[in-house]
């Protein structure tokens, strides 16, 4: 694809005409797309791919960036989040990278975006058909901690020998009396493959189940791509007498009042003052705006929290 014109983005990042669309060369994108197709065909299976060196260090989301670069087109609207927020360093840099290399429209609005690249969260706003969520994955192999040999873990996947996963959960119960794994909580995809959901909190695990959006996972250093196609069952592991549970908070978000969202605990001062607020900044901001509008309509003028 030839870059034709320089578009000016609202935030003032120029499309660099000297770089191929979405940075990667076309052959590489094709190779990655083939891996993605295979991953979609076998939900939860880790497909090896020839991961490229990216102009960002490993651990900054090189896997996710390569996946996004391979699926993005000029008409797409991109949203990038890190820990639920659109304005953290990682999110800002990746967003600017794609603005410079593709010139696509960017947005912080979950519903407006056609591609959402994420690290550590799934947006609170329910996703819709046609959207793609791209996860950045540091460790794609869910059994790596207990079985470090990769030829062995591949065999365990192939033969569906997943006793090891429960050894992990058994350990949690033995030591803490409850399942203490709170993020990167293993899931069974489509009743077949055990998959690492990337380091999202287990709070987000139920959102993966039968999600209308396409979910793609890229691990750049480990050179693996895997996927959960739309409307695929995703089950979080557990024991019969200690089933999977998500985190709950005693607090509501102090900015928008939500009791349903994933909350961050924020330190406010040196006196130990702290505040609970939504980690999803887009969700929280929209709720604040809505309650502000509602209260000004009713004549009070001040948002009640």
């Amino acid at each position: 694809m030839q870059p034709t014109e320089v578009q000016i983005q609202p935030v003032g990042v120029l499309r660099d005409p000297h770089i191929n669309f979405a940075y990667l060369d076309e052959r590489t994108k094709r190779m990655i797309r083939r891996a993605i197709l295979k991953a979609v065909a076998i939900p939860g299976y880790q497909v090896p791919f020839g991961s490229r060196e990216m102009p960002l260090p490993y651990g900054w989301g090189t896997g996710g960036i390569q996946v996004t670069a391979s699926v993005i087109g000029p008409q797409d609207v991109l949203k990038v989040i890190d820990q639920g927020s659109d304005d953290t360093v990682n999110a800002v840099n990746i967003r600017r990278f794609f603005q410079r290399t593709t010139g696509v429209q960017v947005s912080t609005d979950t519903l407006a975006a056609s591609i959402i690249q994420t690290r550590h969260r799934i947006p609170e706003t329910p996703l819709r058909e046609g959207q793609i969520v791209v996860y950045q994955v540091p460790v794609p192999e869910p059994m790596q901690h207990l079985e470090p040999r990769e030829f062995e873990t591949r065999k365990l996947h192939a033969l569906q020998e997943y006793g090891l996963m429960h050894v992990n959960l058994f350990e949690d119960l033995a030591h803490y009396g409850h399942i203490a794994t709170t993020y990167d909580y293993p899931v069974l995809v489509n009743g077949r493959y055990i998959m690492s959901p990337s380091p999202i909190p287990k709070f987000d695990n139920p959102k993966m189940h039968m999600n209308p959006a396409l979910q793609l996972f890229g691990a750049g250093r480990e050179k693996r791509i895997y996927a959960v196609p739309p409307y695929t069952p995703v089950e979080s592991l557990g024991f019969e007498d200690h089933p999977f549970e998500v985190q709950r908070w005693d607090h509501a978000c102090e900015l928008c009042g939500s009791r349903e969202s994933f909350l961050d605990e924020v330190l406010m001062d040196d006196q130990g003052g702290r505040m609970f607020a939504c980690s999803d900044s887009d969700y929280c901001g929209k709720r604040q705006a809505a309650s502000l509008a509602a209260s000004s309509d009713s004549g009070h003028g001040v948002a009640s929290v």
Binding site: L146, G163, A174, F239, H242
Partner: protein, 262 residues
């Protein structure tokens, strides 16, 4: 148990040869193992005992020959003709493998309870309370205090590790256990206790076992039958007492006369 079990062997090994590259280390060995029988393979270091054990336990593909095992309620089946999935299933349900070095057979970084219960979880048991109860029961059967259930094996003594490894293997009620020098590396009193326990468990469970050892006393104590190896060949086989009291082959005579008497 069906009556048939007493009439057909549990394992049948025919003309088994193993090689590492061009060097043949096991030559043309055949034997039958009957249900509930304990067979000792003895011989000096390098005689091919461990290779033979690995070959019959589906851990080392032989050069030629056959290893057949009678799965529950079926005829003898060639284990190397099975799919890998079947073979692995067999090794973690109907079989057990006790390593000389317990660290090879245990997960050193997870608790004793999880080590013992792992095979049950692999078989699909998903009730934590029930898994823990069975793990506790098995720890007691191998004389480990249930208060140690949440401790990691790297805090255990050598003898305890070996007993933990045995519990981990026996929890699925296997019918055949392979043991590679299970008592060497332990001091004599711990050895005696472990042997006592092994003898009791094999009797109680009607367990068949193949034990590789260089210690003739271990063979005498545990095994009904014995296979003496030298240079990769079986030079003598027979009932343990018969072989030890009236050795026929010069090598066996040498072996028996080499035992130190305290």
């Amino acid at each position: 148990m069906k009556h048939m079990d007493a009439l057909s062997p549990l394992m049948q090994v025919r003309h088994l040869s193993c090689a590492y590259g061009t060097r043949t280390v096991v030559r043309d060995i055949s034997f039958d193992l009957w249900p509930g029988e304990v067979l000792a393979i003895v011989g000096e270091s390098g005689s091919g005992k461990s290779t033979l054990l690995n070959a019959v336990a589906a851990r080392h593909t032989p050069l030629s020959g056959q290893v057949a095992f009678a799965l529950k309620d079926t005829e003898l089946q060639d284990i190397y003709a099975m799919t890998e999935a079947q073979r692995r299933m067999l090794s973690r349900t109907d079989w057990g493998f006790v390593h000389q070095n317990a660290a090879d057979g245990l997960r050193m970084n997870v608790s004793a309870g999880a080590n013992v219960a792992e095979r049950l979880m692999a078989l699909g048991q998903r009730h934590y309370g029930a898994l823990r109860a069975q793990a506790t029961d098995w720890l007691q059967r191998v004389e480990i205090s249930p208060s140690r259930i949440d401790d990691r094996p790297d805090t255990f003594s050598g003898g305890m590790r070996q007993r933990l490894q045995i519990a981990r293997n026996l929890i699925t009620q296997p019918r055949l256990v392979f043991m590679d020098e299970p008592t060497s590396g332990l001091d004599v009193s711990v050895q005696a206790r472990l042997l006592d326990m092994l003898r009791m468990l094999t009797r109680q469970m009607g367990l068949a076992a193949i034990i590789v050892t260089h210690d003739l006393a271990v063979a005498r104590l545990l095994a009904q039958r014995m296979l003496v190896m030298q240079g990769g060949m079986a030079v003598e086989t027979g009932l343990t007492d018969q072989v030890l009291d009236d050795p026929q082959h010069p090598y066996t005579q040498l072996l028996v006369s080499s035992v130190l008497q305290p």
